[in-house]
Symmetry: C2
Subunit: 437 residues, 2 copies
């Protein structure tokens, strides 16, 4: 070994973000709030491994997400006998696999949330990452699942997002049965292609949508009916008064009405029936959700989306398991706000410390430690400033980290300095509170 | 596409554990407690990406851990231009890299904790996993770092582990300078080999250790002195009274004395000076820690370990950055208790729900939702039992999930059933508490 120091200067890996301590503190606050909201509705947490067998990830057919394979650098013979592994690209497939695998040990309806990292090998760009957190919440049941869960999920999501203090949140809800019913009544069979076109309604002009529908072979009457329906947007009464062309369409209208009715406790801007919402994924069969941040124009598209699926875990178990779920694209939301409106994140201190305890010289450290313990017992976060240095140094440290109070243990009693106004007052660690300094 | 349902029956992937909801609830309680303890000492959280450039992971030379490489399944030309990525095998290397990379934006001494998954492609066996959580806590500073941090870390770890209610915890602490000083005084130059032998002292008989030392070329006197020192175990006074053979050994004795003195507030069983502790890794330069669970005999070895390092991030930045850190092998601890003494985990309910609100029939769901909201506002976790089914069904669900209370909203007032004693009492969601049912 050579004694010369070899430096490997590290650089950020594109698409794999990491935050500074002060940003991470806000991220933790967000996670805590979302988790608390999910749990307040009785959802339990699960976590699945970061990897799945590649066969599990592909069980629903070729996936359009870019998958990361995982492989030991020092492969041996045993490795070739084992299944190939890959990082999961969402939490829905792992959740379906988990439900099937542990079916006999779960209680149904199974209500779970999941807040983990997922990986997608896509080209990184603003708000699109290769490693990011999702916060998913789903209910799954055997054979049938009450439509009331379709209404409960957006209520939870509204509360979760609203509590982040990032401005007004709007849930946009539709039911795919309405459009599918209309298409059936118009004898249009290629539901997938039409759905994909409707999905672009926000991004294209009306005449462009009409052109695309025409390209799919729809006649004028069909185009008119489809685009008129897709433009329906409004309160529960607007939806309730739609005229159904057949049973499927009526079923969709009825379900959407129940969902919107159940959300009547939300403020007016908070929820809207919007038949342009169809979601690309073909496993959705009824209710579909998107969510808009009305006060964050930089955030285009839906911050969290989801819907009802008829039989999600069907690829893994011989049971009929309908479910409904929503997923918050957590890291994308966090990063866009971090970059465009950091004031909305409320980034502040660089640590959770409430009080810094000063140590005058090495001999005082026992007293400082004891003081800190007494304050911790009263639920303050307390650090002892061990480096015995020049007096100004601990104040600079306190300021930089935005620690609100400095504590001076002294032989003849204690003193506390309030950093917000530089006032110093005598105090006692056993009775002190932030308000009576 | 065929209509026939193709089932891919999923199986567990060896070494990649996942827990049932009731186990996960305990895991969350553990994480929450450890996090709270770390924060109460003013440590901030960071998270790093799951991957690092392979060059970063190997910056300290060939690693004995089995590394998992990560690669897009659909590679293209761009991929070959980028650095190769691999999952991190610990949190120490990423922490060192993070500190170097964000050096100018951090405040020193930088006190951080990190609770993430790490990956090692080792042969899985009881308590040894390929994906697992570690809880790390480290302090790093520029140029020098007070010995008081060496004492603070074990105090934090003691509190963190003790609060998990898994029996008595014992910190075993040494200082490598003591043994290194002795070896120098005996003119023994191959510190690494001797350290590796001392590291086996718990597993081998005394004569086996002596044989190994003899194989290394030590003479009788050297063997006697080294093994006598390695058997020193006791309170701070035992350490204080050791006779130093040179300055380095005295420095080690002094440092260990300060550390043990600072831990005098812990119970007698809680901390011991133990010179057989050396830790295998050669980057430790002073204080070293191991931790024993005195009441969990199934857990062999150290549940959390660490020590002082002279210059951890030196491979990444041209600064001298000494640090001290400890890592809890979280998942190993959790899994061994889960398998061998589940009663110590206190596994109970399958969800965080406090109260289940019953819905008599579909028309009542608005009232049920409103009741649930009122209870949630008072910080209860409340689920509405949406499936309108046979009466017994909701009670079975409540029992299976171990939900403590069932709430019956009725037109003429509310009733609550306490599942622990089957008593039903009239109540009001705006004033009810768990104690006055």
């Amino acid at each position: 070994m050579s004694d010369k120091k070899k430096i490997y200067k590290p650089k950020a890996i594109s698409g794999f973000p990491e935050w500074l301590p002060e940003e991470r503190l806000v991220e933790q606050r967000w996670f805590d709030h979302i988790r608390k909201t999910f749990e307040s509705y009785g959802f339990c947490s699960i976590e699945t491994p970061s990897v799945e067998e590649i066969d599990v990830l592909l069980a629903k057919g070729e996936v359009d997400k870019e998958i990361y394979a995982v492989e030991r650098i020092h492969k041996d013979e045993d490795d070739s006998k084992e299944s190939r592994l890959a990082l999961h690209f969402d939490q829905t497939v792992p959740f379906a696999r988990y439900t099937a695998q542990h079916f006999n040990e779960l209680v149904f309806p199974f209500k779970r949330y999941q807040m983990q990292r997922v990986w997608r090998g896509e080209r990184p760009q603003m708000g699109r990452m290769r490693e990011f957190y999702q916060c998913d919440i789903d209910v799954i049941n055997v054979d049938n699942l009450s439509i009331n869960y379709d209404a409960e999920l957006p209520a939870i999501i509204y509360e979760a997002l609203e509590g982040l203090n990032i401005g007004r949140v709007q849930l946009r809800i539709s039911n795919r049965k309405i459009l599918m019913g209309l298409l059936d009544s118009l004898k249009i069979t290629d539901h997938v292609s039409i759905t994909r076109i409707i999905d672009k309604i926000e991004k294209l002009e009306a005449h462009q949508i009409e052109q695309l529908l025409s390209d799919e072979g729809l006649n004028k009457e069909q185009i008119a009916k489809v685009s008129t329906l897709a433009q329906v947007k409004g309160s529960v009464d607007v939806i309730r008064n739609l005229t159904a062309e057949n049973d499927l369409m009526q079923e969709g209208i009825d379900e959407l009405t129940v969902v919107l009715d159940n959300l009547s406790h939300l403020p007016d801007h908070g929820v809207v029936g919007d038949l342009s919402i169809v979601r690309g994924l073909d496993y959705y069969t009824g209710t579909v959700y998107e969510t808009q941040l009305l006060d964050v124009p930089e955030f285009t598209g839906s911050v969290c989306s989801g819907g009802r699926y008829d039989d999600l875990a069907g690829g893994f178990i011989n049971k009929h398991l309908p479910g409904v779920g929503i997923s918050i694209g957590f890291s994308r939301l966090f990063d866009i706000l971090r970059q465009t409106s950091p004031e909305k994140l409320g980034i502040g201190p660089k640590s959770p410390t409430d009080i810094l305890v000063y140590v005058e010289n090495a001999d005082d450290s026992a007293k400082a430690n004891e003081t800190a313990r007494a304050l911790r017992e009263r639920d303050f976060n307390v650090e002892v400033y061990h480096p015995v240095k020049k007096w100004e140094k601990h104040l600079k440290y306190t300021e930089k980290k935005q620690i609100p109070f400095v504590w001076y243990p002294k032989a003849d009693g204690h003193e506390v300095k309030d950093m917000s106004n530089s006032n110093t007052t005598a105090s006692d660690p056993k009775t002190w509170s932030k308000d009576n300094d």
